[in-house]
């Protein structure tokens, strides 16, 4: 099912992919292979097309030229097979549904039309347990904090056991402490599920802390500036941030960002 290039499985592959909105070129000639099971973070100045890139991969915007493949399939085929899931900056929960019902939503969509919905190894209830919300299954989104809502959104994204998880600044609106906690939790989830993650962020420390690779985009038009390998061992914990290696990566990325 997956393509092999130089012996590594490819989760998503972009070749010379461009996105245009009218006359505006949002992304230009992106060529990139994202290995299966890898954790990529995407950094770049505002308007460089970070979100557009996730939308390109998730079949929300079509490429104007070039191509995008997910696990060797077209993005549309991958979407229909629920190979990927999306976590938005705003949790985007349906406010009338309980946490559990929100997690179950992907299993309901398409069921009546007889579409084969891939069921993950974990039930919605177990996923809420995985994100530490097993005691709030019946709570409505309005009764949950911002961090809890985002955890429900992550559980919902995992319910079809996606091979690729696209996250668009999911913790951007949260306070520092909550963000740190969720970063650690996300790394645990990544390790446990083995899914590939593409994670857009504004925060350099977050990009370094989470990513195996940091994709730096530059603006006007959006294109790849550099891919930086983050050679820090897993499992990572908060103490890692105090180390000189971590800070060296942060400085390197900050310099790159200034050049953009």
């Amino acid at each position: 099912m997956t393509m092999h290039t130089e012996g590594r499985d490819i989760a998503a592959s972009l070749s010379a992919a461009s996105v245009r909105f009218g006359d505006f070129t949002a992304l230009k000639d992106i060529t990139l292979d994202i290995g299966a099971g890898e954790f990529w973070t995407i950094l770049g100045p505002s308007g460089c097309g970070k979100s557009t890139m996730l939308r390109l991969v998730s079949d929300l915007v079509p490429p104007a030229s070039g191509s995008v493949e997910i696990l060797g399939k077209s993005t549309e085929a991958a979407r229909l097979a629920r190979e990927f899931a999306f976590v938005f900056q705003d949790a985007t929960l349906l406010p009338w549904r309980s946490a559990l019902k929100n997690v179950e939503l992907p299993l309901e969509i398409g069921r009546k039309r007889g579409i084969a919905i891939p069921k993950g190894d974990r039930t919605p209830r177990e996923l809420l347990e995985l994100v530490g919300l097993d005691d709030r299954t019946d709570a409505l989104p309005s009764e949950l904090s911002g961090g809890m809502r985002q955890r429900v959104a992550i559980a919902r994204a995992l319910v079809c056991q996606p091979k690729l998880l696209l996250m668009d600044e999911p913790f951007g609106a949260l306070d520092e402490m909550t963000r740190d906690r969720l970063n650690l939790q996300l790394l645990d989830i990544w390790k446990e599920t083995g899914t590939t993650i593409l994670f857009v962020t504004h925060s350099i420390p977050e990009a370094v802390f989470l990513g195996q690779k940091v994709l730096m985009l530059m603006a006007h038009p959006g294109r790849v500036k550099e891919v930086v390998d983050i050679d820090l061992p897993f499992p990572r914990d908060i103490a890692l941030r105090e180390t000189p290696e971590f800070n060296a990566y942060c400085s390197q990325l900050r310099r790159l960002l200034e050049e953009c």
Binding site: R55, S58, D59, L60, R79, L80, R82, F84, A85, F86, F88, D90, T92, L94, P95, W96, L105, P106, E108, I109, G110, K112, R113, I115, L140, P141, S142
Partner: protein
């Protein structure tokens, strides 16, 4: 429970009535007190200045008529209730269905929205005789008038409600490859419910106005007919009692919609 708590704490320190209880008490006491005072002033004024009953009856006269003419009031209450309810259902159902059509087709919206606005600009009192001419003196004309008066606010609110889905929710639906009908039933319709209920609360009171206006034009039963009849016969206490029954009907409908909203829109 709250009561016993207050009475238990009252004796040692009268001030310890909790702020929450006091607000709740004042919320009831202030409007009730004001209404009772106004009624007393009305009663005293009428008696003091010897106002003839046919010009302004005293509250006690109205209460008396309410008891003596209760069967008459009820006989005229039911037709108005039925017309109001039927108009409420028909008008709102039409508005909801047309709103759904508008949201799914820009062309339909462009074609019919100006007409809807135009119909809304015709004063209901001007269009009512036309509708009575068309539909005759029976119940149908009243239902149509009541439906018409409900229609526009619900249409506008429902269109807004259906369109108020966040772009991200639609992106989520797309990523899940949701069909148009799934998006409608699982996302758009629930999203619109708070907007719909705002409109239904307006409609709950206006549908009664519609039915009564319809009865003014041509009817021999109904609260509207009774208002006209008692006015022409100078039976002012009966007129006032009828007016209170009409407003009571509106209050009951409004309260029912509010109650339904409380059960349905829980978020």
């Amino acid at each position: 429970m709250a009561m016993s708590e207050t009475s238990a704490t009252r004796t040692p320190a009268p001030r310890s009535l909790s702020a929450k209880d006091r607000t709740r008490l004042l919320n009831v006491a202030i409007p009730v007190g004001t209404a009772v005072s106004l009624l007393l002033i009305w009663q005293a004024g009428v008696r003091l200045f010897g106002v003839p009953q046919y010009i302004a009856p005293a509250p006690t006269d109205i209460i008396a008529v309410f008891f003596t003419e209760f069967p008459l009031l009820m006989r005229n209450f039911w037709p108005t209730l039925i017309e109001s309810l039927a108009g409420f259902v028909v008008g709102n159902l039409a508005a909801i269905l047309i709103a759904v059509a508008f949201v799914h087709s820009r062309t339909v919206e462009r074609a019919f929205f100006p007409i809807a606005v135009f119909i809304n600009t015709i004063p209901i009192l001007a269009i009512a005789p036309i509708l009575v001419l068309i539909f005759g003196p029976g119940i149908v004309a009243k239902v149509v008038i009541a439906a018409l008066i409900c229609f526009f606010p619900t249409l506008v609110n429902m269109v807004r409600g259906l369109q108020s889905v966040s772009p991200q929710a639609l992106e989520l639906a797309r990523i899940l490859s949701a069909s148009k009908s799934e998006v409608f039933w699982k996302i758009r319709l629930p999203t619109s419910l708070p907007f719909l209920f705002s409109a239904l609360k307006i409609a709950a009171t206006t549908c009664v106005i519609g039915a009564i206006v319809g009865e003014w034009i041509g009817a021999n039963v109904g609260l509207g007919a009774l208002i006209i009849e008692s006015t022409f016969n100078f039976r002012s206490p009966l007129l006032y009692a009828t007016v209170f029954v009409s407003s009571g009907l509106s209050v009951v409908l409004f309260a029912s919609v509010s109650l339904a909203e409380k059960f349905i829109v829980r978020w």
